[in-house]
Amino acid sequence: MSDNYFIDLHPFSFSVNTALPQVINNLSTIYGSRFRKQSTEVADYELSVQKSSGIRSFIKPQARFFCDQQEPFKPLNFQKAYAFLEWGMNWTVAGNEVQHVIIHSAVLAKGNKAILFPAPPGSGKSTLTAYLAHNGWRLLSDEMALIIPNTKTVEPFVRPICLKNQSIDIAKKLFPDGKFSDIAKDTHKGDVIHLSPPESSWENQTNTAELVGVVFPNYRANQDLQVYQLDKTQAFMQLVENAFNYSVLRETAFSTLTKVIENVQTFEIFHHDLDQVAAFLEQEIIDYE
């Protein structure tokens, strides 16, 4: 029988209806005490992950995702059900929430100074995110940065870090104690694993931070750290390209992002050594002011 679970993920909450042990176990590994059986809590969105029915479900079982009675995606291989739910949660937020300008980007902070890392897949963003989160930085977001309109304040939306392909082995070596989900094999992003950020990030789940930098990372094998200052027009246009709800928020998003870009440092970096990156970020951006 399927049960209702509640996930409290500031600033949004979800109820998840599922009977799949795989989904329940992964949610419990990743979200810890923030994941529980739903009792009287009221969730913002009702999600559900189910096994699809029919003869095919015996030969090649599939998982279906629903958000408030809607089924936005075609079913996926059953084995990917948990990853599917994570993407479904992203979809739900991206499609409904417009109280923040939402950027496809990681956000990490030292104290209350935050840096935005918008980057396409393959840029090594998530490995960098995982590394920083385990080395004295606080994770605010891995994929969805929530900026409060007309400020440079970021609202945390702490979620697991999504690692792909080769970075899975690297991460398992780097963080032997990390809380990892099962691997979802052969997704459109390749093999995917979710890693729960350290407890300190969860504890600060409701504390906002102020943006001081925007850094576009690019992983290059055997490349010593190279840093380029990005001019503001280019940096702005790249942020626009990475914004989920920019086209909905229009003027609000435009003025918010121009304000952010005007008031932060903007860099593009090419790197191999994560230690070097961390040192650069601290010296040149965090300690700069």
Binding site: D231, K232, T233, Q234, F236, M237, V240, F254, T258, I261
Partner: protein, 67 residues
């Protein structure tokens, strides 16, 4: 429109279509072109960008004969 303080360029929001456009010219450079004081080489990407902003009625030439 927003003109960035590092003079790297200006960005525009087309309120009608919701489209965002950028041009790598400072505000003062743009107004020189619009007033006809600077003539851009027709082939350059800057000229193409300015022409497309004019077409979308986002920029308006100050003296239309010269542009």
């Amino acid at each position: 429109m927003h003109s960035f303080s590092d003079q790297s360029g200006c960005v525009f929001l087309d309120i009608h279509s919701g489209e965002t456009l950028s041009i790598l010219m400072s505000e003062s450079e743009i107004s020189k072109v619009l007033s006809g004081n600077t003539v851009l080489d027709k082939e350059t990407s800057r000229n193409i960008a300015i022409q497309s902003l004019i077409q979308k009625n986002i920029l308006v030439p100050i003296d239309s004969k010269k542009i």
